[in-house]
């Protein structure tokens, strides 16, 4: 049985020009996202992990066309968002939403919750004006907040509650795909658990598809079906979750897993320490981007960029040595 892909990303590229000098001449590019391809079947969760600066958030935003990609295709239910006129795209935005990391910065402090959630409902005419309040109350109930909160302002809420409001806002237009951009990273652990459970409940109830962007591998393991690891603008490994943790292939994935503090002092993980720091994404090396830090690097890695190889059931890895 093959599930239909709700989202297909093909060769997505986002380069930012680096301007220098008197006439702002562009002589180099920051290659934030460089040839990224993946797909998500309907109703599944893809976890996109990587460290800061690897381009995971840029990928999420370019998919939603919140920033314009330099190249590539993004197919939502078969339609390329990058070949769409303004009106058609606006209509399509109803199907895809985003929840941001910082629940403090992503809600306008001068608007009431009614206006924050209601704006999208009004714009997309999700329900008639008469039903709007009842609909919003139901949404708040859905995310675990009381209906009397509609007249409150963001500052009256705690971090966890704000994140719930962000989710209610995303849900308001009945989307099919939600990009979760570090959506639980700013929360305390006990609150993080509440919000993660809420994500799972909503996903099951509405058959939602998530692109779950985070740096936290433990969270990704909990919530995703599949996992994609990004390094310096490229996906280095993508696999089903259990398979990924049982049998990680890329040296970077292995190092990443080994670096997570264990959940008990009696479990000691064999640690793979990486040399040096993240290489700059401005004019990255021509070979494998992980070359300079890789404990297994060989001569070929410096010269040739490794292609994606299938090493198991839908388990892709970009490494010469596998």
């Amino acid at each position: 049985m093959h599930k239909e892909n709700i989202l297909e990303v093909k060769n997505l590229v986002k380069w930012f020009p680096v301007k220098k000098g008197l006439f702002s001449k562009t002589n180099s590019y920051l290659k934030a996202v460089d040839d990224v391809s993946f797909s998500i079947p309907r109703g599944e969760v893809l976890g996109l992990v990587g460290e800061s600066g690897c381009g995971k958030s840029t990928t999420g935003r370019a998919i939603l066309r919140l920033i314009e990609a330099t190249q590539g295709e993004v197919l939502l239910e078969g339609q390329d968002l990058y070949r769409m006129g303004k009106t058609a795209l606006k209509e399509k935005r109803k199907d895809m939403q985003i929840v941001f990391q910082d629940p403090y910065a992503s809600l306008n402090p001068r608007l009431t919750i009614r206006s924050i959630i209601g704006e999208a409902i009004k714009l997309h005419q999700v329900v008639s004006e008469k039903e709007r309040d009842a609909f919003m109350e139901e949404l708040l109930y859905e995310v675990g907040l009381g209906k009397h909160f509609l007249n409150h302002f963001p500052h009256q809420f705690s971090g966890g509650q704000r994140q719930r409001i962000g989710i209610a806002r995303a849900l308001a237009v009945r989307p099919k795909l939600i990009v979760m951009d570090e959506a639980v990273s700013a929360l305390d652990v006990s609150v993080q658990a509440q919000v993660l459970n809420l994500f799972q409940d909503l996903q099951q109830k509405y058959g939602l598809t998530y692109l779950f962007i985070t740096h936290n591998l433990s969270v990704v393991k909990h919530i995703s079906n599949r996992i994609a690891v990004m390094y310096l603008g490229q996906i280095v490994e993508i696999s089903e979750k259990e398979e990924f943790f049982r049998n990680p292939q890329h040296p970077y994935s292995r190092a990443l897993i080994s670096a997570i503090p264990s959940s008990s002092p009696e479990i000691k993980r064999e640690r793979i320490l990486l040399k040096g720091d993240l290489t700059s994404p401005v004019d990255p090396p021509q070979g494998c981007r992980f070359y300079s830090r890789c404990p297994e690097a060989q001569a070929i890695c410096k010269e040739v960029q490794p292609p994606h190889k299938e090493v198991g059931n839908q388990h892709l890895v970009a490494c010469h040595l596998r």
Binding site: E51, V189, A193, N197, H222, P261, S262, S264, P265, L274
Partner: protein, 328 residues
Amino acid sequence: MSDNLLEIKELSTGFFTEDGFLPALDKVSLTLKKGETLGVVGESGSGKSLTSLSVMNLIPTPGKAVGGEILFKGKNLLQLGEEQMRAIRGNEISMIFQEPMTSLNPVYSVGEQIMEVLRLHQQLDKKVARAKTIDMLRLVGIPSPEKRVDDYPHQLSGGMRQRVMIAMALSCQPDLLIADEPTTALDVTTQAQILDLMLDLKERLQTSILLITHDLGVIAEAADHVAVMYAGKVVEYAEVKRFFREPLHPYSQGLMNSIPTLEQTRERLQVIRGVVPTLQQMPKGCRFCTRCDEKQTLCEEEAPPLIGYQGSQVSCWKYTERWEPSPR
């Protein structure tokens, strides 16, 4: 002579505000033995950072320590004047912070900033101080320290800056290093490097560490003993292996169960319901009682003391004789 380097006894710190006095720390007691790492774990607002600032006597106004003692090598730090305190800070007790960018001065080179500490506390002359600075940078694993010593903070990555902070903190060979969320702003692979470095240096330089973090994983990796803080109180204090095997306090248990881990697979995460109470509406009895599933009337009326239980310490009525066994 006791082998306790730092002993915090019933420390109460609070803020004098327009709403009256807000008790942020309520009779916090902690002990750190020589050569040991004590991990203090808690969520935001639990008072873990305020505890460390109290030790350094750096509580922001309108805050003030109003009761208790902080004994460092037998001296009560709360009774020292600013002058005496300044001789201790950076020399005998030093501190590293979460955000290495904001705690380094952007207009001085990292070398100048480390040299300042050495010249001030150890009265070294410029040349010797510079040589020692380069040694320290080498010690914390910065490549080509002879060149890096003249770099400015913005030229270094986050991990390198944190290494500089550690070099600065350890330059006078302090007895106590307070590390307040030292790896929180760093990526996991960098976090692993920094934790390993701290543990290695602790062994080599015989420094005791007070490690403050919200991350139980960091505690499991690095600490010998752990103190769990909740809403300005220590609710549990235990040896670290024992703690992870069998946490005693309902809050510690809840915390442990609410974290997704690589080792276990759970369908759903257990949650601690509700949120931390604000200082203005702190419950009269046990501060955790508003979120506790096991609470009894006693918990609402009277705050439980920190009692010894099987070698650990826990602040919960459950482990006392006054607890009524459940009717089941």
